[in-house]
């Protein structure tokens, strides 16, 4: 039986762990990833003869690696490539949650959005049009209340569909100004020459333009490691040169 990995991402206190526990039945254990001391909980969930391995990423407001937590969450999505990234949003504070959501949608197109805490939102008189949000974000949006086990069946069904390739998404991608866009596309094609489809090249290009030294260092390291395994020679140098003059 194939196991699909599902990463849970979201702001702190949006109920990621509640959802995690509701689905995995608290059968979690913690582990360390790629030499980080921040530990990630993982647990298994079975639905219709399919096994999902859930990874509970640290709760963050952003994924620009301002902190160790953000770096772990981001590196997991980019380098470990979960089959689905499950974004858990707080329905009572959607404005805040969507910041992270847009960042994740720039990184991967395998995203499902959960509108958690729907019961609380209802109590506060907040109404959310999930269908409209689905149209605008370009990925499935599912209202749930993890605490009350509401909506988890719909969510499980959607997870199954996406993992087995039966859901097509068209994630919303931020459009930047003309000058930036032309720089992004230039860098993007250069990066694609180096990495192929290994990493999301548009996202990488944006991070490079933002001068994300930490990410560049991580990528160089990964290239030099795989170089020994016989990857295209000189790729690391190309990476060095594509970086010069682009940081702002």
């Amino acid at each position: 039986m194939r196991t699909y990995t599902v990463a849970l991402a979201g702001n702190p206190n949006t109920g990621k762990s509640t959802l995690f526990n509701a689905l995995t039945g608290l059968k979690q254990h913690t582990g360390n990833w790629s030499g980080k001391t921040v530990s990630l909980a993982s647990g298994n969930y079975e639905y219709k003869d399919t096994r999902f391995r859930f990874i509970d990423l640290p709760g963050t407001y952003s994924l620009f690696s301002n902190s160790a937590d953000e770096e772990v969450a981001r590196d997991y999505i980019i380098f470990e490539k979960p089959d689905v990234t499950l974004l858990v949003l707080d329905s009572t504070a959607l404005e805040r949650s969507l910041n992270l959501a847009l960042q994740v949608l720039e990184m991967t197109d395998r995203v499902i959005v959960c509108l958690n805490l729907m019961d609380e939102a209802k109590k506060k008189g907040i109404k959310i049009d999930a269908r409209k949000l689905t149209d605008q974000l370009g990925v499935p949006v599912i209202p749930i209340s993890a605490r009350n086990n509401d909506g988890l069946d719909t969510l499980s069904e959607q997870l199954l569909l996406m993992c087995t390739g039966q859901t097509r998404t068209t994630p919303y991608r931020m459009k930047y100004n003309e000058q930036l866009e032309s720089q992004i596309s230039r860098l993007e094609s250069e990066l694609r020459d180096i990495f192929g489809d290994e990493y999301p090249s548009r996202w990488l290009a944006i991070r490079f333009l933002d001068g994300d030294q930490k990410l560049i260092a991580t990528l160089k390291h990964r290239l030099s490691v795989s170089d020994k395994g016989g990857m295209t020679h000189g790729a690391a140098q190309a990476l060095g040169s594509s970086n010069s003059g682009h940081s702002c």
Binding site: Y61, S62, F64, N66, T92, A93, E95, R96, N99
Partner: protein, 83 residues
């Protein structure tokens, strides 16, 4: 740069006042952090209360409470809104 001349900074807003952010005059990671927390041009925040010594001050921003030191709030520019 001089457009900030006619703007007020957040530190000038007093208790209970609402403030429309127009510019975050901070650089680098710090700015990124503030933007992530909701201190975004165009958003309206509310001054909640100051700590006993007057600094830091807490603000309601995008549905949550965040406290800033005056070093930061002095660099967030905009307009106090009439209530």
């Amino acid at each position: 740069m001089d457009e900030t001349k006619h703007l007020q900074h957040l530190q000038q807003a007093t208790l209970g006042e609402r403030f429309l952010i127009e510019k975050v005059d901070i650089r680098g990671e710090h700015k990124r952090r503030l933007l992530d927390l909701g201190f975004v041009p165009g958003s309206v925040i509310e001054v909640l209360k100051a700590s006993p010594l007057g600094d830091p001050t807490s603000y309601r921003v995008a549905g949550t409470v965040i406290a800033l030191r005056k070093e930061e709030s002095q660099l967030i520019w905009g307009k106090v809104m009439s209530s």
